[in-house]
């Protein structure tokens, strides 16, 4: 399922990021590697989301959030 389907407060495991190589790499460098735990901190009705990955808060636009695939824990 996509990270966009995850609600605030839920935790998931990252499976894959379906985006170009460059951006995928950037996200990986920021800690978004397959298998990592992602906590959805804030998912507003519209606009970017806030997730917690490896102890940092990342703001992610909805476009990229919908391309991040995750598994529920």
């Amino acid at each position: 399922m996509s990270l966009l389907a995850v609600n605030s407060g839920q935790s998931v495991i990252l499976k894959d990021i379906d985006w170009g190589k460059k951006l995928k790499k950037k996200l990986q460098d920021m800690g978004m590697t397959p298998g990592v735990r992602i906590n959805m901190i804030q998912k507003p009705a519209f606009g970017p989301c806030v997730v917690e990955v490896r102890g940092t808060r990342l703001a992610l636009g909805r476009g990229i959030v919908s391309k991040i695939f995750v598994d529920l824990i």
């Binding site: 990986q28 009705a45 490896r54 102890g55 990342l58 703001a59």
Partner: protein
């Protein structure tokens, strides 16, 4: 001895740099604020050390300009030791860069920053064990309190150690070994890893292409870090997540999709309110000083010394009028920068990008592009340099092209002069409307450029949200002082020189000293005034002001001061009396709009040239802005004339 200072954005790198070198340096709290190479010197126990502050990066893969710059610099021969600053409250992510640095096999020292916060969180880090596992000296510090600096300098003096990097899975290690055996370069292991990561720069350099297992390498690096932390990082049971729970709570409100933008507008209004009311209070004092005290005394003094009339005129009208007219606005500029720096250092700037993402999307940019726009309210030069944090080249050029529309501090004196002369009682409204026009024009320009010559996919919005931190007063003041000093220096040099030149061309012509109307300046102004006729201010005085204003926007004010002899007229009544012969409310407003939008000053043109690395874009920027300014000011004047 050369030290390269490397670390993640928001790790306190710039604070450490300032603390170590005592240099006045720009500090911020949003991801990637350090975009310039900065050097500072330290003397410790008779040893001189040079510290080079590298851009804050998350990794060393050649993904952005900053990462390439950092990597090439560290790999060069110049660097004796790499000082890696690590945010101890965020070890896992920060150590990723550390592991990459270690793979470069340069002597290293790690500064473990924000140890005070780690203690507050009730956590413990086994520093000795961490140091042993990494094979590198690890020194706990608190950069903002200058704690642990003595130990850090001692470690740096001993040049650190080459650490032991990640041990990958046996499968990956086997492939690394294989490639290593076939390579004939220095630092084989690093090159082998880079080849496996599919690092474009290295692949091209060695002309070798492997099956990329980049993802796997990243995962294994993070796994290695996790194991490292299991042995060294103790999270205490009664988990008091002070740092982020507070930030998360505040963000629930500040990042709310409905409240976010209104709150941002309120905060910005407060910044401007402070700029104008508190700054204005000091402004009046300085204004009285220049207009009623200094110029009168100097005038009397010079007359008493029976100095020649022309020299008196040069000093009082030219220098005091020209330079004083600009220096009067120092308090406003200072308060504006205090506001902007506070937003940056507190971590709020990243949130501004977040809440503006929706609006910026509508014009084809992401929220991150809004940060340089806000910095532009201060000065467009650092604002344009900060666009380096944008990854897509087209986004960057677009951000640079629209930045000068954001009204900088140097344009403030022009508005203040005209607003107080023509819009008594509604000055604030007039000035706010100008800032607003600037933003709207910037966004419209972005929209049009995006649809025409800068077509492209918009980069998705990805940004770290640092924990809120109360800005350190000292750091904030260094920050503000650096900008204000720049403004004062400009007044003392560029504007001082320009004022003298202006005075000369306004008092002389080919046959010697003359009155204003037959001077060189008048002839130059008359020569170009036809351009401004349709805009409602086709006088030679206004034309000359605008022409010279390209050197620095404040010169428009200096010019007015000299042309109309305003140096001795301190009160706004006298000011409007002098100016009202030439300007009405309508063309005064059109004039302000023109000053807001037209060709940026020389410093900005220079930085555009440097940052775009293209004369084509530079010339485009200067000319399209002139065209837009002309068109909008013309529209305001012509349409306004129909109704007024």
């Amino acid at each position: 001895m050369n030290i390269a200072l490397a670390g993640n954005p928001n790790s306190g790198k710039t604070t450490l740099f300032n603390g170590l070198t005592g240099a006045n340096h720009y500090v911020g709290n949003w991801a990637g604020v350090t975009v310039e190479k900065r050097e500072g010197k330290i003397k410790y126990k008779h040893q001189f050390m040079t510290v080079v502050d590298l851009p804050g990066t998350y990794s060393l893969s050649p993904y952005s300009i900053e990462e390439i710059v950092s990597r090439n610099y560290i790999l060069g021969d110049e660097v004796d030791v790499v000082l890696n600053i690590v945010d101890a409250t965020n070890l896992e992510r920060n150590l990723f860069l550390t592991m990459q640095l270690i793979e470069l096999r340069k002597p290293m020292v790690i500064a473990l920053n924000m140890m005070d916060e780690v203690e507050k969180l009730g956590q413990k880090i086994d520093v000795k064990e961490l140091s042993a596992l990494l094979g590198v000296p690890v020194i706990p510090i608190t950069a903002k309190k200058k704690k642990g600096f003595e130990e850090l300098l001692e470690a740096l003096m001993h040049k650190g150690l080459v650490g032991s990097g990640v041990i990958y899975s046996s499968e990956v290690e086997k492939r690394i070994d294989q490639i290593e055996n076939e390579l004939n370069v220095q630092n084989k292991r690093w090159h082998a890893i880079k080849l496996l990561e599919g690092d474009t720069e290295i692949c091209e350099k060695l002309n070798r292409h492997e099956d990329h297992i980049h993802e796997r390498i990243s995962v294994e690096k993070y796994d290695y870090i996790s194991r490292l932390l299991e042995k060294t990082f103790i999270k205490q049971i009664k988990e008091k997540q002070v740092g982020y729970t507070f930030t998360d709570k505040v963000d629930k409100v500040l990042l709310n999709p409905f409240l976010g933008v209104p709150i941002f507008l309120m905060i910005m209004s407060m910044v401007f309110w402070m700029t104008f009311t508190i700054g204005g209070f000091f402004l009046n004092i300085i204004d009285v000083f220049f207009g009623e005290v200094l110029s009168v005394w100097v005038l009397k003094g010079l007359e008493a010394l029976s100095v020649q009339d022309w020299l008196i005129s040069l000093i009082v009208d030219g220098i005091i009028g020209g330079v004083g007219g600009v220096l009067t606005f120092v308090p406003n500029i200072a308060f504006l920068f205090i506001g902007i720096s506070f937003l940056e250092d507190s971590g709020y700037m990243a949130r501004v990008a977040f809440v503006m993402d929706g609006w910026m999307k509508k014009v084809g940019l992401n929220g991150k592009t809004f940060i340089p726009m806000i910095l532009g309210f201060g000065c467009n030069v650092p604002a344009i340099m900060s666009t380096r944090t944008l990854e897509e080249e087209k986004d960057r050029i677009l951000a640079i092209m629209i930045n000068p529309f954001m009204s900088c501090g140097a344009r403030l004196p022009v508005y203040a002069l005209f607003a107080s002369a023509f819009f008594k009682g509604s000055e604030a409204l007039v000035v706010i409307s100008l800032y607003f026009i600037g933003i709207v024009v910037a966004l419209l320009a972005a929209l049009i450029l995006r649809k025409t010559i800068l077509k492209g996919e918009q980069d998705p919005f990805i940004m770290e949200l640092p924990a809120y931190r109360l800005p350190e007063p000292r750091t904030l003041l260094i920050h503000v002082w650096e900008r204000v000093r720049g403004y004062i220096v400009k007044a003392g040099t560029v504007i001082f020189a320009a004022s003298i030149i202006l005075w000369v061309i306004l008092n002389f012509n080919a046959s010697g000293m003359t009155d204003l109307t037959s001077s060189f300046g008048a002839s130059i102004g008359k020569g170009v005034s036809f351009i401004f006729k349709p805009l409602g201010f086709g006088t030679w005085q206004a034309s000359l002001s605008l022409l010279t204003g390209v050197i620095a926007k404040e010169i428009v004010v200096s010019n007015m001061m000299i042309v109309y002899g305003l140096a001795e007229t301190a009160t706004s009544e006298m000011l409007s009396a002098t100016l009202s012969g030439v300007f009405t409310q309508l063309n005064a407003y059109a004039f302000m709009v023109f000053v807001l939008l037209y060709t940026p000053c020389i410093a900005v043109i220079g930085v555009i040239r440097r940052e775009t690395n293209s004369w084509k874009w530079t010339i485009f920027s200067a000319s399209y802005q002139f065209a837009i300014a002309w068109f909008i000011a013309m529209l305001i004047y012509q349409v306004g004339s129909l109704f007024l």
